[in-house]
Amino acid sequence: MYAQMVDTGTKRLKTLEEMSPEERDFQEKIDAETKIEAKNWMPDAYRKTLVRQISQHAHSEIVGMLPEGNWVTRAPTLKRKLQLMAKIQDEAGHGLYLYSAMETLGADRDEEIQKLHDGKAKYSSIFNYPTLNWADMGAVGWLVDGAAIVNQVVLQRTSYGPYSRAMVRICKEESFHQRQGYQILLDMMREGTQEQKDMVQDAINRLWWPALMMFGPHDDESPNSQQSMVWKIKRKSNDELRQMFIDQTIPQLEFLGCTVPDPDLKWNEERGHYDFGEINWKEFYDVLKGNGPCNHERISTRRKAIDEGAWVREAAVAYAAKQKQRAAKAA
C-alpha cells in the first residue's frame, strides 16, 4: 500500500468512557459507518494522522510517475505509448485528488510537498526501485498497481468522507492500470521472443518482493494499526491485505507461465491460502529510511521540477493580479 507506516501519535486506545462527549459522539458515528466530513468535529490526532496518511498516499502517486516516466519516451509502439502515458497521467490525477482531500483537513498542499522534498515525508518504498527493462512497465502495472488496488478498494470505505470519495474515483481508474500492465506481460509471454520472455521474468524477479513490501510491516510490528482500525482509516491489517494480494496474484502469475523468486511459496490446502517466505525487512527499513536504489534520484527530480518551475507559477499569479487590477480599473 502507499501509506506503509503512518504514525497515529497514540500509545493506547481509549475506551468510550474515557472520551470527551464530542469524541464519543465522533467515535459512535464511525462505529455506525457514518462518514466524517470536513466540518465535523474530530480529534486532533485523527486529523493529523489522516493528513499524514493521505499526504503519503498522494506523494506516492506523484513520485510513482517517475519509474514509469523513465520508459514513456521509449515505449515500443504507438499503442503502448498512449496507454502508458494515459496511465501515468492518471497517477498525477490521483495525487491531485488526494492532495485535495488532504486540504479539506486544513493542511496545505505546498507545505506538505515541501516536506517531501526536504526528505521529511514518506512515500511508498516501491518507487525507490529502478525500472530496468520494458517489461517493468508491465510488472509495475500488474504488481504495483495491483497491490495498490487491494489496499485502495478497502479504503473506499474509510471513515473520512473526502478521502473515501477520492478512493472511489481512484479505484474506478485503477483497473485499467493493472490490465494494461498485465497485457504487456501476457503479450510478450505468448508471442514474444525468448529475449522478451526473459525480460518479463527478470522484471517479476526484481519487483516481486518490493511489491509485497508495499503492504508494510507485519501486524505485530505495526503499532499504529490498532488506532487506525478503530478510526476506520485502515480497514484491514497489513498481513491480511498482503495475503489477499498474493492469493489473487499467483494464479495470474501461473497463467503467464512465470515464477516468483520465493522457494517457500506454495498453496496451503488447510489454510486455503498461499504460504510464502519472509520479506527482507532490513531492506524494507533501509529503503524507507532513504537508502534505496533510487531514493535520491526520485526526490531530487521532484524537487528540481517544483523549484525550477517556481517562476512559472509565480508568473501566473502575477498575471492574474494584473488582470484583476485592470478589470477593477475598467469597472
Binding site: 509502439t77 490525477g93 528540481k304 502575477a318
Partner: protein
Amino acid sequence: MTQQEALQEYLLRMADSGMILAQRLSELVGKAPALEEELASSNVALDLIGQARNWYEYAAELIDDGRDADKLVFLRDAHDYRNLLMVEQPNDDYAVTMARQFFFDVWHYFTLKALSNSKDERIATIAAKAVKEATYHLRRSSEWVKRMGDGTEESHRRIQDAFNLLWRFTGELITPDDIDHAMFEAGIGPDPQQLKQDWFGMVREVAAQATLAVGEEDAWMYMGGKTGEHTEHLGHILAVMQFLPRAYPDATTW
C-alpha cells in the same frame, strides 16, 4: 513527383510533426513545473499521438509497402522524417517549451481548420476531429504565453528569450514549398498565403497582449525539416524513441 507522392509526403509532415512534439512532451513526464501542468501537457501529447496515428495509417495505406504506422514511427531514420524543425527543439526551460507549443499550435490550428474542408475526405475527417483538440491546445498555450509575457520580470525575460531563440524556426511553418503548393492546388491542403496571414495575425495578437516583441517576417529562417534535413536534435530523439524496436528486431509484438 506524382500527386500521390506529394500527398504521402504531406501526410508524413503532419504525422511526424505531431509525433515528435509529443515525444518532446513525454520527456517532461513527472517534471512539469506544477502538478496541474502534468495533466495538461500529457493531454496535449496524447492528442498529438492519437492524431499522428491517424495520419500515419492513411500514409501507410498509400505507401502500401507493408509498413504500418508503428514501422513508420519506429524504423525510419532522421532523413526520412518530415517534421518541422520547430518541434524537435529541446525543452530547455518551460518558456521554450511553451513558445514552441504556441508557434506550433497556431500553425496547427489554422492548418487543421483548412484541412477539415479538404477535398480528400479521409483528411477532412481526421482534421475535423483534430481541430477540436488543437483549439484547446492553442487556447492553453496562448494563455501561458500571456501569463509569462505579462507576468513577472523574470517570466517576461524568459519567454521573450524563447521567442527570440525559436523565431528562426517559424519560417518553415508558413513558407510553402512545391508540395504545399501542389496540395493547395489539388484542393487538399490549405491556401499557403492565407495560412501565413492567419499565423502572423494570431501570433502578433497574442504577443501584443503578452507584451512581447516578435521577430521580423524577413528574418533569416532555418528550414529543412519538411524535406528531411534536420537539426542535430532529431537523431537523439529517435535514438531514444526507437530504442526497443531497434534493439530487438526479431520482436514482432510488444
